[in-house]
């Protein structure tokens, strides 16, 4: 989003695309894929809305009291969840950067768990945990508080999915934060608390805002983790994406589309507002480069070596929050999966439908990873190694699927390829079934994971600049040779990292796939959908057994992610040291 656009501005301005060969081909591929996968399906949304006819019809659909209640629930709950995540996220980021304690790298390693765990799995785990017989829910029931099937439950699910956003946007800023600001405040007599609130917080504000915005937007669009715990009581706990789903199940495409459009406008408005605020904040930092890049530690003022009480408190708060929100739900999955014994567990996993769902999940994941990796690399090379007008627009369009609710992502493919879709009859005539079939699942999965590889590679290539490629081109190297010998070695860790994130998201995608799959057991079910069916049929143990496969895959992905992150950091540090050494000479 905004960071990509700012990075683009940093690229050296040139008149022509530059001397590196391959520009036309890369531009062609990027635009074609962008159009086919993102723009055309999104356009269907507008086409379908246009068919509603009159504006007053549209308004009466989207302002219906059930709809208004739905937007209200979505906005209210995701706002509260984003606020909670902001407070917790700043504390966690602070503790992870500033303090040393034994289980620190463990905490740092599990932050992305909500990205790796499929939302449906999170949904059933949280529901089982907070319902009136659950580990935590039963405690609250005793004191007369219900969590599951109330707004509180929705908020908890939204907190779960939003945890990584604030932590990961604030953490690098604290890492680079120049301790001289704090020292200046201390030497002026400020207490640690007033130093934090008056001096540090304003510096962190832009990144806090960015994380808040992402968490908020994610909450508004979230479907999989929320539907189970929400209970979906009309006017009370029905979230907006669920309203879209409900309309779809009654084949009310026009209504579904109208609600989707409103939801889209809300999230875009939100992202625009936050980008605007960030730009406004940047004027304070313009021209002054106070971020030293060297992270020093504030020395404690006495030699006793004892940790001040507030450090203990903050470490405890951060650890407890992550334990309750992330670890306990995992323990729920493990416990419930094995509740009926190992034999039942094995039976659930080797069930014919489970294996078939696993196969479909793998197919969709492989397609998503391959397509988006090819696209991500091509688009990132195009936007960083050549100069041409419209690069900012392309970067923004690539990011679009990020801020679109998965339910809407599924909907746009129905509107394009379904029986009512404008391209539907054509594919029907040539005998290809897309909607309610595997190709639709693949398309929806590709769509929701579209920006993942691109977003990881882009900043790395951008930081590297293009002098090496230009030198090679002047020596007569061809486009592919330049890529293989020069560009790729720079981006290989980011490349692997992007693939891992893409795979994690593809394998767990629920909302989009749920809309487009048709739920045909043994035909179009992915693993997350299979989990939902089992759970709704009250086969709880089987649902958790199947979930445990996804959890194990998520944990593997998380471990790989942490290893890669370590490699990327080591690599960055090496480059930085080389640069410093070169500067000295």
């Amino acid at each position: 989003m905004s960071d990509v656009r700012q990075e683009l501005k940093k690229i050296i301005k040139n008149d022509s695309p530059g001397v590196i060969p391959g520009f036309g081909l890369l531009l062609g591929i990027t635009l074609t894929m962008l159009t086919l996968i993102v723009l055309i399906p999104l356009a269907s949304l507008v086409i379908e809305t246009a068919q509603i006819g009159s504006l007053s019809d549209f308004i009466s659909i989207v302002t219906d009291k059930y709809m208004m209640a739905g937007y209200g629930v979505s906005l209210f709950c995701s706002f509260i969840a984003a606020v909670v995540n902001t407070v917790a996220g700043v504390i966690i980021a602070w503790v992870l950067v500033r303090y040393d304690f034994k289980w620190k790298s463990f905490l740092n390693g599990i932050i992305e768990l909500p990205f790796a765990i499929p939302t449906a799995v999170a949904g059933i785990a949280l529901t089982s945990l907070y319902c009136d017989t659950g580990w935590i829910g039963s405690l609250f029931t005793k004191i007369g508080i219900d969590i599951a099937y109330t707004k509180t439950g929705i908020i908890i699910a939204m907190i779960f999915v939003g945890i990584p956003f604030v932590v990961r946007s604030v953490q690098p800023v604290i890492e680079k934060f120049d301790v001289e600001y704090e020292e200046a405040a201390l030497s002026l007599g400020a207490s640690p608390a007033s130093t934090f609130f008056k001096v540090i917080l304003p510096e962190l504000f832009p990144s806090i805002l960015a994380g808040f915005g992402l968490a908020f937007a994610r909450g508004i669009g979230e479907y999989g983790s929320v539907v189970f715990i929400a209970g979906n009581i009309p006017l009370k706990t029905q979230i907006a994406p669920l309203l879209i789903m409900a309309q779809l199940q009654q084949y009310n495409y026009a209504k579904a589309t109208a609600i989707a459009l409103v939801l889209l406008v809300i999230s875009f408005a939100l992202m625009l507002a936050i980008n605007g605020l960030q730009l406004y904040m940047q004027r304070f930092t313009a021209g002054s480069d106070n971020m030293s890049g060297i992270s020093k530690k504030i020395e404690p003022f006495d030699d006793t070596g004892k940790r001040p009480a507030r450090e203990h408190t903050l470490i405890a708060v951060a650890s407890l929050f992550l334990f309750v929100m992330l670890i306990i739900p995992l323990l729920v999955v493990a416990t419930y999966a094995l509740r009926d014994g190992a034999a039942a567990y094995a039976e659930a996993i080797f069930d014919e439908y489970t294996l078939h769902a696993l196969k479909i999940t793998l197919i969709a994941t492989v397609f998503a990873v391959v397509i988006n990796t090819v696209f991500g690399v091509i688009a990132a090379v195009l936007l960083t190694k050549y100069t041409f007008p419209g690069r900012g627009i392309i970067a923004t369009l690539i990011d679009l699927p990020f801020s679109i609710s998965p339910v809407i992502a599924g909907l746009i493919f129905i509107l394009t390829f379904g029986t009512i879709g404008w391209a539907g009859p054509f594919f029907e005539r040539i005998g290809i079934k897309i909607v309610f079939a595997v190709p639709g699942i693949v398309l929806a999965t590709v769509f929701v994971t579209f920006p993942f590889v691109f977003r990881e590679i882009f900043p790395v290539l951008n930081a590297q600049g293009r002098h090496e490629e230009e030198a090679a081109a002047l020596m007569g190297a061809g486009g592919f040779t330049i890529f293989r010998k020069i560009t790729f070695p720079h981006m290989k860790w980011a490349f692997a990292y992007g693939i891992v994130l893409c795979a994690a998201r593809a394998m767990g995608e629920f909302g989009a796939v749920s809309v487009i799959s048709g739920h045909l057991r043994g035909k179009t079910n992915t693993l997350p959908l299979h989990v939902e069916i089992l759970y709704n049929e009250f086969n709880t143990s089987e649902a958790f057994a199947v979930s445990s496969i996804l959890v194990i895959m998520a944990l593997i992905i998380l471990i790989v992610r942490n290893v890669l992150e370590y490699r990327i950091k080591a690599n960055e540090q090496m480059i930085e040291e080389e640069r410093l050494a070169a500067d000295k000479e």
């Binding site: 120049d178 001289e180 600001y181 020292e183 200046a184 405040a185 201390l186 030497s187 002026l188 007599g189 400020a190 207490s191 007033s194 008056k198 001096v199 304003p202 510096e203 504000f205 004027r283 304070f284 930092t285 313009a286 021209g287 002054s288 106070n290 020395e299 003022f301 006495d302 030699d303």
Partner: protein, 240 residues
């Protein structure tokens, strides 16, 4: 220890991991005078200054101010003004808020803060700029804001780290005499760090020459010029 020494460092040692940044450093700074810590880059000047200010802590040795050992006193309680090399002005605060910060955290009344800020602005001749943000100021103006902020709480000691390094050469000369005049006018015991021997000679009453964490010589500019104590001092004074 000289009776006139208001700030006194006694046998200070400080290491970062295996690296010895200060090695048995002993010197004093007289009340109301300007003392320069002079030495090449990386010689450990900033580290000494930070230890006086309470931002780093010596492994051994004593830091004495006005006859009192202050090693265990936190930076926020030392009553020492610090001007950082890059000024470390708070970017999200106006000039006025920056200068008034120290008074504000001491819970002074609004009127009192307003009055002091006004006075300070006239001392550093920045009247009319109180509503500006740091990014709207020139390098020299920023330095004066940093100076005003550091003396706002009426500290007994002022520490300045390379106060002119970030300022372009033309303005630097002008600022040197400005700093000297104003420190004398306020009458504050000041220690400043520099790697520029010309600057030290021109501004300081007394110079402490440091190399690789050790003191090479302490004396007035004239003493050092006329009787350099070591080969290092001779080279440093005459070759740079």
């Amino acid at each position: 220890m000289d009776n006139k020494d208001y700030v006194y460092l006694s046998h200070i040692n400080k290491s970062f991991n295996d690296f010895k940044a200060s090695c048995d450093v002993t010197f004093g700074a007289a009340k109301g005078a300007l003392t320069a810590l002079l030495g090449p880059s990386g010689s450990g000047k900033t580290t000494l200054l930070r230890m006086i200010g309470g931002l780093n802590h010596p492994d051994s040795g004593e830091i004495i101010i006005d006859g009192r050992v202050i090693n265990a006193l936190p930076a926020s309680k030392r009553g020492i003004g610090f001007v950082f090399q890059n000024y470390a002005l708070f970017r999200y605060m106006t000039v006025e808020q920056n200068i008034g910060f120290g008074l504000e955290v001491q819970k002074k009344s609004k009127e009192e803060i307003k009055k002091s800020v006004k006075e300070l602005l006239s001392i550093v001749s920045l009247e009319g700029l109180e509503k500006r943000y740091p990014h709207q100021l020139s390098g020299g103006q920023r330095q004066r804001v940093a100076f005003a902020r550091a003396i706002a709480n009426n500290p007994d000691v002022l520490l300045l780290d390379e106060p002119f390094a970030a300022i372009d050469a033309k303005v630097r000369r002008e600022l040197r005499s400005w700093l000297r005049d104003i420190v004398k006018q306020v009458g504050i015991t000041s220690i400043f760090v520099t790697h520029d021997q010309e600057e030290a000679m021109e501004v300081a009453d007394r110079i402490v020459i440091i190399n690789e964490g050790k003191i090479e010589q302490v004396g007035t500019p004239e003493e050092i010029k006329e009787h350099p104590a070591t080969d290092f001092v001779k080279d440093f004074i005459y070759l740079t």
